[in-house]
């Protein structure tokens, strides 16, 4: 097996699929000559040329709309938003057009478009730090994957490109493991574990709606996504020292959601901690919490705990950002809380 970083895994998925399918194109800001703000598209302009890799103007709504038009007429565009925050510039095209065209057309329209968006807090303040999944989870017609490991990233991305619906693939900046070609430090996080860094060279798909148990345990179920999978795994290691056995489940896609795997774990441990980097109010944890209450209430031995970002724009100062974003200690506190009784 080969070890890849998450950004290398995503690139490999795109490159292999572009070699296989001439209808796949890339569009986005600084993805060609500059190789992508986070180096994900490194070398792709050289290999595929300017008719497959389009360096766009800073016009998110415009190139998102063009991607939709291209998807409607036989191409399979992959649109890179430089930061997930910039997707809001293209909200009408994503929410009112891409998500609704299949239904509005009575099933005539296929919209095979992939939106890639790096997200998460990395010291870049309020407009380059958001976790956006809840906005799009609230939009029927979109599907959302959010890989936590290179292995998952390659399989989910390969799958996403082959789907005929609009798909949002969120990528956590701290999981990339690569530096910007513009210089600077490689983005990383001390808690990132080695899980899923062995990535097969051949193409493979991970179907959406297929959660993965990243660690088995008996006392409490932690459901987490992206970077929070790694922080939850780190918390689980710490809790083991206290004799507490944690199961960590990664949904890998929010839409569709693998309810069965999540609920099976909940019914086994009877205690739940939900961990997500998006803000608490109306967020991923709120939705998962409601689902578990509706479908596994009788199995719960304690109220569900939510660990997510505070309800605030992400502040710049490192101490403040750290306070707002879920840390290992916050997850541990919540684990202790659900086990109290």
């Amino acid at each position: 097996m080969r070890k890849l970083s998450l950004s290398e895994a995503i690139r490999e998925a795109m490159v292999q699929e572009m070699r296989r399918d001439p209808n796949v194109i890339l569009m986005g800001e600084d993805i060609g000559c500059f190789n992508g703000a986070f180096n994900v598209t490194n070398g792709m302009l050289d290999e595929f040329g300017p008719k497959r890799v389009w360096d766009t103007p800073i016009s998110e709504a415009g190139f998102m709309g063009m991607g939709i038009g291209a998807a409607l007429t036989g191409l399979r565009p992959i649109i890179e938003f430089q930061y997930a925050d910039f997707m809001f510039c293209a909200m009408d095209q994503i929410v009112n057009e891409a998500a609704k065209l299949r239904l509005m057309s009575g099933g005539q329209a296929n919209v095979p478009i992939v939106m890639r968006a790096p997200q998460g807090a990395t010291g870049r303040a309020a407009q380059h730090s958001q976790s956006v999944e809840a906005y799009f989870m609230h939009t029927p017609g979109l599907q959302i994957a959010l890989p936590s490991t290179p292995y998952d990233a390659k399989g989910l991305m390969t799958r996403a490109i082959r789907m005929n619906d609009p798909v949002l693939v969120l990528e956590h900046k701290l999981l990339y493991g690569t530096a910007s070609p513009g210089g600077g430090k490689s983005l990383t996080d001390t808690t990132i574990s080695d899980i899923g860094i062995d990535v097969p060279e051949e193409q493979y798909e991970i179907p959406f709606g297929n959660a993965d148990v990243k660690r088995e345990g008996d006392d409490v179920t932690i459901i987490a996504t992206m970077l929070m999978v790694h922080r939850s795994l780190a918390a689980a290691v710490e809790m083991e020292k206290e004799g507490i056995s944690c199961e960590v489940v990664d949904p890998r896609s929010l839409v569709p959601l693998d309810e069965e795997t999540l609920l099976t774990s909940v019914k086994k441990t009877n205690r739940v901690v939900l961990v997500s980097e998006d803000v608490d109010r109306g967020g991923v944890c709120s939705e998962l919490s409601a689902l578990i209450m509706e479908k596994a209430f009788d199995f719960l031995d304690a109220p569900i705990e939510r660990v997510s970002a505070d309800n605030t724009p992400i502040p710049f100062g490192p101490a403040a950002e750290k306070h707002v974003i879920p840390q290992i200690e916050n997850i541990q506190d919540s684990i202790r809380k659900v086990l109290k009784d």
Partner: protein, 343 residues
């Protein structure tokens, strides 16, 4: 507040060089669009037709003139006021009518209605209910033509209101930059809902907006179907041979209110009466008879044909099943098919 006066816009309708069948087709398409919407108006009053609609009465020459310059496999995006574009693109009246009645045999299976009519088999990529939304989507269809190396051209229709949306500017810039095969058509019907041009656009000559992107901007008498056709043909030919986009401003007038029963009290009756005299269908017919290129009998025969087509469309719509309460479930996602797209 001022409006553009028809006598300042109107140009003579020149028939020379055109064959009878083509002229008949232009007239047929315009009459179809007019009578389809007149019938809708009546059906809204007398039946349980759901929803709303936006009539393009008086603007038919723009849709018909432009689309008649296209090939069958060229792409079109349309607006909330989109019946005429669909009809010009030969979307059958029966499935359109059934869609208006929210029937399963409608062109969008009763899921879209008036503001989302589309027919992918005819390159009709959709009416869009969000003002300006179709502009980048048509531009993307033009991108496909370049990537795949086909010679297809895209046309985006939108109103004078849409040019103040950001995607108008973003799209024109990219299309100009990459010389995409697209024609942008402003249907300047002089009102964005209640707002006249000069209260919402700082520069009243809308065709000038092409300058900022280095593309031709041209003004056309939008109630002269031949003039529209000729301007569009020129722009489409240029797009097809790789010379990039054109912005066409077709000046016309929205005879009706913004939507179904909206009375348009923000404008005076004299203004409407003046533009009614320059009705594009009336002008075409009178000029054709005066020129001798078509006879009154031939034109009447077209009217009769359209009346029959519309009656048949209503009958077809009435035979359709009502949309079921859970029909929508099959249209939210597909995602199981391994490959494809819309080819």
């Amino acid at each position: 507040m001022s409006f553009k006066r028809p006598e300042d816009v109107a140009t003579p309708i020149q028939f020379s060089g055109y064959e009878k069948p083509f002229l008949k087709l232009l007239c047929l398409r315009m009459v179809r669009a007019r009578e389809f919407e007149e019938q809708l108006y009546y059906l809204f009053l007398t039946t349980k037709m759901p929803g709303t609609m936006h009539q393009a009465t008086g603007q038919e020459a723009v849709a018909v003139g432009v689309v008649s310059a296209l090939n069958a496999d060229d792409y079109v995006t349309s607006t909330h006021r989109g019946h005429a574009h669909c009809i010009a693109k030969d979307v059958p009246l029966d499935v359109m009518m059934a869609e208006m009645f929210a029937k399963r045999n409608g062109v969008c299976k009763g899921m879209g209605g008036s503001m989302h009519l589309c027919d992918f088999s005819r390159g009709m990529l959709g009416a869009f209910g969000i003002v300006g939304a179709g502009i980048p989507i048509a531009t993307g269809a033009a991108l496909t033509s370049v990537v795949k190396g086909t010679s297809q051209v895209a046309v985006s229709f939108f109103g004078d209101g849409a040019i103040n949306e950001g995607v108008f500017h973003e799209s024109l810039n990219m299309a100009a930059l990459w010389k995409l095969p697209i024609v942008y058509v402003i249907e300047n019907n002089q009102y964005a809902f209640s707002m006249p041009n000069d209260l919402v656009s700082a520069v009243s000559d809308l065709s000038l907006r092409g300058c900022g992107y280095g593309i031709p901007g041209e003004k056309v008498d939008g109630n002269n179907v031949i003039a529209v056709y000729e301007a569009a043909k020129n722009a489409v030919d240029n797009a097809r041979k790789g010379d990039g986009p054109t912005l066409l401003e077709c000046i016309t007038y929205r005879i009706r209110g913004h939507a179904r029963f909206e009375p348009a009290k923000y404008r005076n009756k004299d203004e409407v009466a003046l533009w009614e005299k320059y009705d594009p269908i009336k002008r075409f017919k009178e000029a054709a008879v005066a020129d001798g290129v078509l006879t009154a009998e031939e034109l009447e025969a077209l009217d009769v044909q359209v009346e029959q087509e519309i009656n048949a469309a209503i009958a077809y719509a009435k035979t359709g099943e009502e949309v079921g309460a859970e029909d929508y479930l099959q249209f939210i996602y597909e995602s199981q098919k391994e490959s494809g797209g819309n080819e």
